[in-house]
Amino acid sequence: MSTWAIILIFYNIFVIFYFISINGFYLLLVLLSYFGLRKQRTVERVSDRYQTFHSAFYKPLTIIIPAYNEEATIVDTAYSALALKYPEYEILIVNDGSRDDTLPVLEKEFNLKKYARDYNNDIPCETIRGIYSSKDYPNLVIVDKENGGKSDALNAGINVSQFPLFCNIDSDSLIDADSLLKTIDLFARDWRTVAAGGTIRAANQCRIEDGQVTEINLSPKFWVRFQIVEYLRAFLFGRAGWSSIGGLMILSGAFSIYRRKAVVQAGGYNLNTVGEDMELVLRVQRVMKKINREYRVVFLADPVCWTQVPENYRSLKNQRRRWQRGLSESLFGNFEMFLNPQYGTTGMISFPFFLFYEFLGPVIEITGYLVFIFSVFVGILNPPFVILFLTAAILLGILLSTSALLMEEIYYRSYPRARDILVLFGYAILENLFYRQLHAWWRFRGLLDFFFTKRSWGTVERKSFSEKKQAVEQDS
């Protein structure tokens, strides 16, 4: 047998092994998250929600909302933040040198006046031009600064924030009124918690009133529906599963809460990555380890952050390319954690998993398909085997998505109409027939971006912080 044939066979075996192991892992995560979510529900039942909601003892919180060229939506965002139920908090909208009327619009709506407040310079950031507070809403503060990008804006917000906890919310995200409190509860119940996050759900075509989602509708849009299924998988068993074994590596930038001191010690958000949220979570863990302090990064499924997800092919593709790049940058920027027993589950299990299955995943998947097909042509694999294998692969994918739908059904039932779940099931099937493969291709392009594209300071600066806008702006 020729060398090529042997190589091909081995690669096929490798791909099959890869496939079995990744799905094995996912099935394990499903089981872990089922029990994890059950435990969370018990904790929920046992907590005196009424008491908690009205607690006088909780640490106050700063909500940081970075904004760039958001004149159209910033007022709504501010009102939605003002509608949150929390005993004591301040809202910091960081205007990152917007070229439009973001600041004037805020000035007009909220009766701003310049505020002589001092701030720390814990993290280097672009010059802060002024700090304003609202006469009508004393806990609303606007930080006006020179442009520096989203990470820089967040760092400025951290500098100005006075409270021990801060929450990072995207400007086009909406948080459920009691989601904040439920997430902060994690910090009160466990001193080791340094970072926590909740579930992200698609707000597209949901009814939104006064900054709250009042009616949940299943979006009729084709690309949104795929994302809904994806998010259910990613959060309800992905993060829930990882969190239950202490190996959570990602929190969504759309909604995450951190201990300010921990982030300052870690040096704030990294300016040189598009995946600043994941990168920060990893770096905070490393720093905590260095100062020899126990820590936990926690995911809670109950609190929900609603966000507008890309509705068309182009935006979605750009977003996923960017995410893959962000993932790559975060992993390599914190490579010290790889197989490092000091980092416990995160170092020994999550990090390798993400490296092998999420980072390299697109490469293996795409080459896997190509090699399979090629192997059939040259007679190394017989067609029935390939067909059956691919069928099994597709069914396994559908099983995983269906498990996520089941979890959604048991614990949350967010979509009021029964047929919505059936529609999502249909999309779970469709997903495995072409969306998955397309997604792998986008991620593959993201990998190429990571390896080959020079990042210029300029392109990062000029992007809007809203996911939607960002995806559109990026060159394809």
Binding site: Q51, F53, H54, A56, A83, K85, P87, E209, D210
Partner: protein, 123 residues
């Protein structure tokens, strides 16, 4: 001919809202029940009411905001704030904004009714 006095009950917990409304009705009052801040403000400004019992933590607009806006238009409308003990700051803020009285939960409905009668009597 005496008209029945109308009391606005603003409380987001439906069970509690119903209980307060029921007891008030038994005392001979007419009751308008609302379950969130927006409805509360709407009713307070547009309906002919004699008094309000106002919860602080409500969806959309909290009781303090409602009180502020109501006081701007109806400075003499009797208001009893009903909220949880932990939020003492809120309660004091409410009194500063012109609430006539406050009660903390857990509470005795009879005492609430007494307070309402008191402040309506003296207005």
């Amino acid at each position: 001919m005496t008209e029945k006095q109308v009391i606005l009950v603003a409380e987001d917990d439906p069970g509690l809202n119903r209980l307060i409304s029921f007891k008030l009705q038994k005392e001979g009052y007419q009751v308008i029940s609302v379950f969130d801040g927006k409805e509360a403000l709407n009713a307070a400004l547009n309906e002919k009411i004699s008094a309000i019992t106002l919860d602080i933590m409500m969806p959309f607009l909290d009781g303090i905001q409602v009180l502020k806006k109501v006081r701007a238009v109806k400075p003499d409308l009797p208001v009893v704030i009903l909220s949880v003990k932990s939020r003492e700051n809120d309660l004091h803020q409410a009194l500063e904004l012109g609430a006539n009285a406050y009660m903390t939960k857990p509470f005795q409905p009879e005492q609430l009714i007494e307070k309402l009668k008191q402040i309506m009597g003296s207005s």
